[in-house]
Protein backbone atom coordinates (compact mmCIF):
# COMPACT_ATOMS: atom_id res chain seq x y z
CA UNK A 1 0.00 0.00 0.00
CA UNK A 2 1.38 3.32 -1.02
CA UNK A 3 1.57 6.08 1.51
CA UNK A 4 2.43 9.50 0.20
CA UNK A 5 4.07 10.43 3.49
CA UNK A 6 6.10 7.23 3.65
CA UNK A 7 8.40 7.46 0.64
CA UNK A 8 11.62 9.25 1.35
CA UNK A 9 11.36 12.09 -1.16
CA UNK A 10 13.05 15.29 -0.16
CA UNK A 11 11.75 18.75 -0.96
CA UNK A 12 14.96 19.46 -2.87
CA UNK A 13 14.08 17.23 -5.79
CA UNK A 14 10.85 19.17 -6.34
CA UNK A 15 12.83 22.41 -6.62
CA UNK A 16 15.09 20.68 -9.18
CA UNK A 17 12.04 19.53 -11.14
CA UNK A 18 10.60 23.05 -11.01
CA UNK A 19 13.94 24.47 -12.23
CA UNK A 20 14.05 21.86 -14.99
CA UNK A 21 10.54 22.75 -16.12
CA UNK A 22 11.43 26.45 -16.22
CA UNK A 23 14.60 25.67 -18.18
CA UNK A 24 12.66 23.57 -20.71
CA UNK A 25 10.14 26.41 -21.04
CA UNK A 26 13.02 28.83 -21.69
CA UNK A 27 14.29 26.53 -24.47
CA UNK A 28 10.78 26.43 -25.99
CA UNK A 29 10.49 30.23 -25.91
CA UNK A 30 13.96 30.59 -27.44
CA UNK A 31 12.85 28.27 -30.26
CA UNK A 32 9.67 30.34 -30.65
CA UNK A 33 11.74 33.51 -31.07
CA UNK A 34 14.15 31.78 -33.47
CA UNK A 35 11.62 29.83 -35.50
CA UNK A 36 13.53 30.38 -38.72
CA UNK A 37 16.32 27.97 -37.70
CA UNK A 38 14.23 24.93 -38.65
CA UNK A 39 11.12 24.04 -40.63
CA UNK A 40 7.68 24.27 -39.01
CA UNK A 41 7.33 20.46 -38.95
CA UNK A 42 10.68 20.01 -37.16
CA UNK A 43 9.79 22.84 -34.79
CA UNK A 44 6.52 21.08 -33.97
CA UNK A 45 8.36 17.81 -33.34
CA UNK A 46 10.89 19.44 -31.01
CA UNK A 47 8.21 21.40 -29.12
CA UNK A 48 6.07 18.28 -28.70
CA UNK A 49 9.03 16.25 -27.42
CA UNK A 50 9.81 19.01 -24.89
CA UNK A 51 6.12 19.12 -23.87
CA UNK A 52 6.03 15.35 -23.35
CA UNK A 53 9.19 15.55 -21.18
CA UNK A 54 7.63 18.39 -19.15
CA UNK A 55 4.35 16.52 -18.73
CA UNK A 56 6.25 13.37 -17.64
CA UNK A 57 8.05 15.42 -14.97
CA UNK A 58 4.76 16.93 -13.76
CA UNK A 59 2.91 13.59 -13.71
CA UNK A 60 5.82 11.64 -12.22
CA UNK A 61 6.96 14.04 -9.52
CA UNK A 62 4.36 16.75 -8.83
CA UNK A 63 1.40 14.36 -9.23
CA UNK A 64 3.39 11.60 -7.45
CA UNK A 65 2.51 8.92 -10.00
CA UNK A 66 6.14 7.76 -9.84
CA UNK A 67 5.52 6.75 -6.22
CA UNK A 68 2.19 4.96 -6.77
CA UNK A 69 1.86 1.21 -7.16
CA UNK A 70 2.96 -0.28 -10.49
CA UNK A 71 -0.61 -1.42 -11.24
CA UNK A 72 -2.05 2.08 -10.91
CA UNK A 73 0.89 3.65 -12.74
CA UNK A 74 0.73 1.38 -15.77
CA UNK A 75 -3.05 1.18 -15.95
CA UNK A 76 -3.38 4.97 -16.07
CA UNK A 77 -0.53 5.52 -18.52
CA UNK A 78 -1.55 2.70 -20.87
CA UNK A 79 -5.27 3.54 -20.90
CA UNK A 80 -4.79 7.28 -21.56
CA UNK A 81 -2.07 6.61 -24.16
CA UNK A 82 -4.31 4.06 -25.89
CA UNK A 83 -7.13 6.61 -26.11
CA UNK A 84 -4.77 9.18 -27.65
CA UNK A 85 -3.51 6.60 -30.15
CA UNK A 86 -7.12 5.89 -31.16
CA UNK A 87 -7.71 9.65 -31.62
CA UNK A 88 -4.52 9.77 -33.68
CA UNK A 89 -5.86 7.00 -35.98
CA UNK A 90 -8.76 9.32 -36.86
CA UNK A 91 -6.58 12.38 -37.21
CA UNK A 92 -3.51 11.07 -39.02
CA UNK A 93 -4.92 9.71 -42.33
CA UNK A 94 -6.90 12.83 -43.15
CA UNK A 95 -4.16 15.15 -41.94
CA UNK A 96 -1.71 13.23 -44.14
CA UNK A 97 -4.06 13.49 -47.10
CA UNK A 98 -4.38 17.26 -46.65
CA UNK A 99 -0.61 17.70 -46.33
CA UNK A 100 0.05 15.54 -49.41
CA UNK A 101 -2.79 16.53 -51.72
CA UNK A 102 -4.00 19.83 -50.29
CA UNK A 103 -7.53 20.71 -49.27
CA UNK A 104 -9.99 19.07 -51.71
Amino acid sequence: MHDTAAHSDSKGQYFWVWGGLLALTAIEVWLGYNNQIMSAVHMLEVLLILSVIKSALIIGYFMHLKFETALMRWLLVISVTACFIIMYFFFFPDAGRIITHGVK
Partner: protein, 273 residues
Protein backbone atom coordinates in the same frame (compact mmCIF):
# COMPACT_ATOMS: atom_id res chain seq x y z
CA UNK B 1 -3.63 6.17 3.87
CA UNK B 2 -1.61 4.18 6.37
CA UNK B 3 -4.61 4.19 8.73
CA UNK B 4 -6.78 2.87 5.95
CA UNK B 5 -4.28 0.04 5.39
CA UNK B 6 -4.34 -0.90 9.04
CA UNK B 7 -8.12 -0.94 9.01
CA UNK B 8 -8.04 -3.32 6.05
CA UNK B 9 -5.46 -5.55 7.71
CA UNK B 10 -7.51 -5.72 10.89
CA UNK B 11 -10.55 -7.08 9.08
CA UNK B 12 -10.94 -10.83 9.10
CA UNK B 13 -11.26 -11.88 5.50
CA UNK B 14 -14.09 -14.07 4.32
CA UNK B 15 -16.61 -12.58 6.74
CA UNK B 16 -19.74 -10.82 5.53
CA UNK B 17 -19.42 -7.05 5.50
CA UNK B 18 -15.62 -7.02 5.41
CA UNK B 19 -13.83 -4.19 3.63
CA UNK B 20 -12.31 -4.99 0.32
CA UNK B 21 -8.66 -4.02 -0.07
CA UNK B 22 -8.22 -1.14 -2.55
CA UNK B 23 -7.30 -2.36 -6.01
CA UNK B 24 -4.73 0.30 -6.83
CA UNK B 25 -3.16 0.60 -3.40
CA UNK B 26 -4.56 4.09 -3.01
CA UNK B 27 -7.54 5.51 -1.20
CA UNK B 28 -10.73 5.73 -3.23
CA UNK B 29 -10.84 9.54 -3.45
CA UNK B 30 -7.43 9.56 -5.10
CA UNK B 31 -8.41 6.83 -7.57
CA UNK B 32 -11.61 8.78 -8.32
CA UNK B 33 -9.65 11.96 -9.03
CA UNK B 34 -7.19 10.09 -11.27
CA UNK B 35 -10.08 8.61 -13.25
CA UNK B 36 -11.65 12.06 -13.61
CA UNK B 37 -8.33 13.50 -14.78
CA UNK B 38 -7.89 10.66 -17.28
CA UNK B 39 -11.31 11.45 -18.75
CA UNK B 40 -10.64 15.20 -18.69
CA UNK B 41 -7.34 14.67 -20.49
CA UNK B 42 -9.36 13.18 -23.35
CA UNK B 43 -11.49 16.35 -23.48
CA UNK B 44 -8.38 18.48 -23.86
CA UNK B 45 -6.83 15.89 -26.17
CA UNK B 46 -9.83 16.14 -28.49
CA UNK B 47 -9.64 19.95 -28.43
CA UNK B 48 -5.91 19.89 -29.21
CA UNK B 49 -6.47 17.43 -32.06
CA UNK B 50 -9.25 19.70 -33.38
CA UNK B 51 -6.88 22.67 -33.14
CA UNK B 52 -4.16 20.74 -35.01
CA UNK B 53 -6.63 19.63 -37.68
CA UNK B 54 -7.80 23.23 -38.18
CA UNK B 55 -4.19 24.28 -38.50
CA UNK B 56 -3.35 21.66 -41.14
CA UNK B 57 -6.59 22.34 -43.03
CA UNK B 58 -6.05 26.12 -43.12
CA UNK B 59 -3.27 27.34 -45.32
CA UNK B 60 -1.75 29.77 -44.46
CA UNK B 61 -2.40 29.55 -40.74
CA UNK B 62 -2.26 33.00 -39.08
CA UNK B 63 0.74 33.82 -36.92
CA UNK B 64 -0.51 36.85 -35.00
CA UNK B 65 1.43 36.53 -31.72
CA UNK B 66 4.11 39.18 -31.46
CA UNK B 67 6.84 39.35 -28.85
CA UNK B 68 4.54 40.98 -26.30
CA UNK B 69 2.02 38.12 -26.44
CA UNK B 70 4.78 35.51 -26.18
CA UNK B 71 6.34 37.32 -23.19
CA UNK B 72 2.92 37.46 -21.52
CA UNK B 73 2.28 33.75 -22.16
CA UNK B 74 5.77 32.91 -20.84
CA UNK B 75 5.04 34.74 -17.57
CA UNK B 76 1.70 32.90 -17.38
CA UNK B 77 3.57 29.59 -17.84
CA UNK B 78 6.04 30.53 -15.09
CA UNK B 79 3.08 31.37 -12.80
CA UNK B 80 1.53 27.93 -13.36
CA UNK B 81 4.83 26.08 -12.91
CA UNK B 82 5.53 28.00 -9.70
CA UNK B 83 1.99 27.30 -8.48
CA UNK B 84 2.66 23.58 -8.91
CA UNK B 85 5.74 23.90 -6.67
CA UNK B 86 3.79 25.76 -3.95
CA UNK B 87 1.06 23.11 -4.26
CA UNK B 88 3.63 20.36 -3.59
CA UNK B 89 4.84 22.32 -0.55
CA UNK B 90 1.21 22.59 0.65
CA UNK B 91 0.86 18.79 0.40
CA UNK B 92 4.08 18.36 2.41
CA UNK B 93 2.84 20.81 5.07
CA UNK B 94 -0.51 19.01 5.30
CA UNK B 95 1.24 15.66 5.75
CA UNK B 96 3.19 17.15 8.69
CA UNK B 97 -0.21 18.40 9.98
CA UNK B 98 1.09 21.96 9.84
CA UNK B 99 -2.22 23.72 9.21
CA UNK B 100 -0.82 27.25 9.08
CA UNK B 101 1.74 26.45 6.36
CA UNK B 102 -0.73 24.29 4.48
CA UNK B 103 -3.00 27.32 4.26
CA UNK B 104 -0.10 29.62 3.38
CA UNK B 105 1.13 27.42 0.53
CA UNK B 106 -2.41 26.90 -0.76
CA UNK B 107 -2.89 30.67 -0.67
CA UNK B 108 0.37 31.12 -2.62
CA UNK B 109 -0.92 28.61 -5.19
CA UNK B 110 -4.17 30.55 -5.46
CA UNK B 111 -2.25 33.81 -5.95
CA UNK B 112 -0.25 32.30 -8.82
CA UNK B 113 -3.45 30.85 -10.31
CA UNK B 114 -5.23 34.18 -10.03
CA UNK B 115 -2.25 35.94 -11.63
CA UNK B 116 -2.53 33.49 -14.52
CA UNK B 117 -6.26 34.24 -14.95
CA UNK B 118 -5.75 38.01 -14.77
CA UNK B 119 -2.86 37.96 -17.27
CA UNK B 120 -4.84 35.73 -19.59
CA UNK B 121 -7.92 37.95 -19.25
CA UNK B 122 -5.86 41.04 -20.07
CA UNK B 123 -4.41 39.32 -23.12
CA UNK B 124 -7.87 38.24 -24.28
CA UNK B 125 -9.20 41.78 -23.86
CA UNK B 126 -6.27 43.20 -25.84
CA UNK B 127 -6.69 40.69 -28.69
CA UNK B 128 -10.45 41.32 -28.82
CA UNK B 129 -9.94 45.10 -28.78
CA UNK B 130 -7.61 44.68 -31.76
CA UNK B 131 -10.29 42.76 -33.67
CA UNK B 132 -9.76 39.05 -32.91
CA UNK B 133 -13.26 37.67 -32.37
CA UNK B 134 -15.39 34.66 -33.17
CA UNK B 135 -17.90 35.86 -35.79
CA UNK B 136 -21.30 36.33 -34.17
CA UNK B 137 -20.09 35.30 -30.73
CA UNK B 138 -18.74 38.74 -29.80
CA UNK B 139 -22.15 40.37 -30.25
CA UNK B 140 -23.72 37.54 -28.24
CA UNK B 141 -21.45 38.43 -25.30
CA UNK B 142 -22.12 42.15 -25.82
CA UNK B 143 -18.53 42.94 -26.82
CA UNK B 144 -18.54 46.41 -28.32
CA UNK B 145 -14.88 47.45 -28.36
CA UNK B 146 -13.71 45.04 -31.03
CA UNK B 147 -11.88 46.76 -33.88
CA UNK B 148 -13.13 46.10 -37.41
CA UNK B 149 -9.84 46.94 -39.13
CA UNK B 150 -6.29 45.74 -38.75
CA UNK B 151 -4.40 42.44 -38.84
CA UNK B 152 -6.48 40.60 -36.21
CA UNK B 153 -9.80 41.83 -37.63
CA UNK B 154 -8.71 40.49 -41.03
CA UNK B 155 -7.87 37.12 -39.48
CA UNK B 156 -11.33 36.97 -37.84
CA UNK B 157 -12.96 37.70 -41.19
CA UNK B 158 -10.82 35.48 -43.44
CA UNK B 159 -9.75 32.67 -41.09
CA UNK B 160 -12.52 32.33 -38.48
CA UNK B 161 -11.08 28.90 -37.56
CA UNK B 162 -8.23 30.68 -35.77
CA UNK B 163 -10.28 32.67 -33.19
CA UNK B 164 -12.64 29.69 -32.78
CA UNK B 165 -9.80 27.30 -32.00
CA UNK B 166 -7.83 29.82 -29.94
CA UNK B 167 -10.71 31.05 -27.77
CA UNK B 168 -12.31 27.60 -27.48
CA UNK B 169 -9.14 25.95 -26.22
CA UNK B 170 -7.94 28.74 -23.94
CA UNK B 171 -11.45 29.40 -22.53
CA UNK B 172 -11.76 25.74 -21.56
CA UNK B 173 -8.40 25.91 -19.84
CA UNK B 174 -9.18 29.23 -18.14
CA UNK B 175 -12.42 27.72 -16.80
CA UNK B 176 -10.43 24.83 -15.34
CA UNK B 177 -7.97 27.23 -13.68
CA UNK B 178 -10.87 29.24 -12.21
CA UNK B 179 -12.50 26.07 -10.84
CA UNK B 180 -9.08 25.07 -9.46
CA UNK B 181 -8.63 28.38 -7.60
CA UNK B 182 -12.13 28.02 -6.06
CA UNK B 183 -11.38 24.38 -5.15
CA UNK B 184 -8.12 25.41 -3.45
CA UNK B 185 -9.94 28.22 -1.62
CA UNK B 186 -12.56 25.83 -0.27
CA UNK B 187 -9.92 23.33 0.89
CA UNK B 188 -7.74 26.05 2.45
CA UNK B 189 -10.34 28.28 4.09
CA UNK B 190 -13.60 26.25 4.00
CA UNK B 191 -16.66 28.39 4.77
CA UNK B 192 -14.51 31.50 5.29
CA UNK B 193 -13.74 31.47 1.59
CA UNK B 194 -17.38 31.92 0.59
CA UNK B 195 -17.74 35.62 1.54
CA UNK B 196 -14.40 36.38 -0.16
CA UNK B 197 -15.60 34.67 -3.34
CA UNK B 198 -18.94 36.51 -3.09
CA UNK B 199 -17.16 39.87 -2.81
CA UNK B 200 -14.91 39.08 -5.82
CA UNK B 201 -17.94 37.99 -7.85
CA UNK B 202 -20.03 41.07 -7.01
CA UNK B 203 -17.07 43.41 -7.52
CA UNK B 204 -16.37 41.77 -10.88
CA UNK B 205 -20.01 42.02 -11.97
CA UNK B 206 -20.14 45.71 -11.02
CA UNK B 207 -16.71 46.80 -12.22
CA UNK B 208 -16.32 44.94 -15.51
CA UNK B 209 -17.94 47.19 -18.12
CA UNK B 210 -20.78 45.82 -20.24
CA UNK B 211 -18.71 45.94 -23.45
CA UNK B 212 -16.00 43.70 -22.00
CA UNK B 213 -15.83 40.01 -22.91
CA UNK B 214 -15.78 39.03 -19.21
CA UNK B 215 -18.95 40.96 -18.28
CA UNK B 216 -21.12 37.81 -18.43
CA UNK B 217 -18.51 35.07 -17.87
CA UNK B 218 -17.66 36.61 -14.46
CA UNK B 219 -20.91 35.05 -13.23
CA UNK B 220 -19.08 31.71 -13.38
CA UNK B 221 -17.78 32.82 -9.98
CA UNK B 222 -21.40 33.03 -8.76
CA UNK B 223 -21.99 29.48 -9.95
CA UNK B 224 -18.77 28.41 -8.23
CA UNK B 225 -19.95 30.15 -5.05
CA UNK B 226 -23.26 28.27 -5.16
CA UNK B 227 -21.56 24.91 -5.72
CA UNK B 228 -18.96 25.55 -3.00
CA UNK B 229 -21.73 26.54 -0.55
CA UNK B 230 -23.71 23.38 -1.31
CA UNK B 231 -20.59 21.19 -0.93
CA UNK B 232 -19.63 22.85 2.36
CA UNK B 233 -23.23 22.55 3.63
CA UNK B 234 -23.45 18.84 2.76
CA UNK B 235 -19.93 18.01 3.94
CA UNK B 236 -18.74 20.62 6.47
CA UNK B 237 -15.55 18.70 7.21
CA UNK B 238 -12.08 19.74 8.17
CA UNK B 239 -10.04 18.95 5.08
CA UNK B 240 -7.09 16.63 5.77
CA UNK B 241 -3.87 15.83 3.92
CA UNK B 242 -5.70 13.45 1.56
CA UNK B 243 -8.02 16.25 0.45
CA UNK B 244 -5.06 18.58 -0.06
CA UNK B 245 -3.26 15.92 -2.10
CA UNK B 246 -6.35 15.33 -4.26
CA UNK B 247 -6.93 19.01 -4.99
CA UNK B 248 -3.20 19.12 -5.78
CA UNK B 249 -3.69 16.41 -8.39
CA UNK B 250 -6.34 18.56 -10.07
CA UNK B 251 -4.14 21.64 -9.91
CA UNK B 252 -1.11 19.89 -11.42
CA UNK B 253 -3.33 18.59 -14.22
CA UNK B 254 -4.33 22.17 -15.10
CA UNK B 255 -0.61 23.00 -15.23
CA UNK B 256 0.06 19.90 -17.34
CA UNK B 257 -2.53 20.84 -19.98
CA UNK B 258 -0.99 24.30 -20.36
CA UNK B 259 2.36 22.63 -21.17
CA UNK B 260 0.75 21.55 -24.46
CA UNK B 261 -1.39 24.62 -25.12
CA UNK B 262 1.52 27.05 -24.74
CA UNK B 263 3.78 25.59 -27.47
CA UNK B 264 1.01 24.47 -29.84
CA UNK B 265 -1.14 27.59 -29.71
CA UNK B 266 1.37 30.35 -28.97
CA UNK B 267 4.88 29.29 -29.95
CA UNK B 268 3.77 27.72 -33.23
CA UNK B 269 1.96 30.97 -34.17
CA UNK B 270 4.63 33.53 -33.44
CA UNK B 271 5.47 36.54 -35.53
CA UNK B 272 8.73 37.64 -33.97
CA UNK B 273 11.16 39.68 -36.03
Amino acid sequence: MADATMEHDAVQHGLPGEYEAPLFGAYSKKVGMWLFLASDSLTFGALLFAFSYNRIYTNPWPTPFHGESIANATIMTACLLSSSLTMVLAVFASQRKDRAWTRNWLLATMVFGTAFIVLHGMEWSKLIDEGLAIPGFASLLGVTKSSTTGELADISKNVPQFPQAFFGLTAMHMLHVTIGVIYLGVVAFRKWFLPVLAVIWIAGALLIPSGNVFHYPVHTLGLGLLLAAVILFLKPKDYDSHDVEICGLYWHFVDLVWMFIFPLVYLMSTKVS
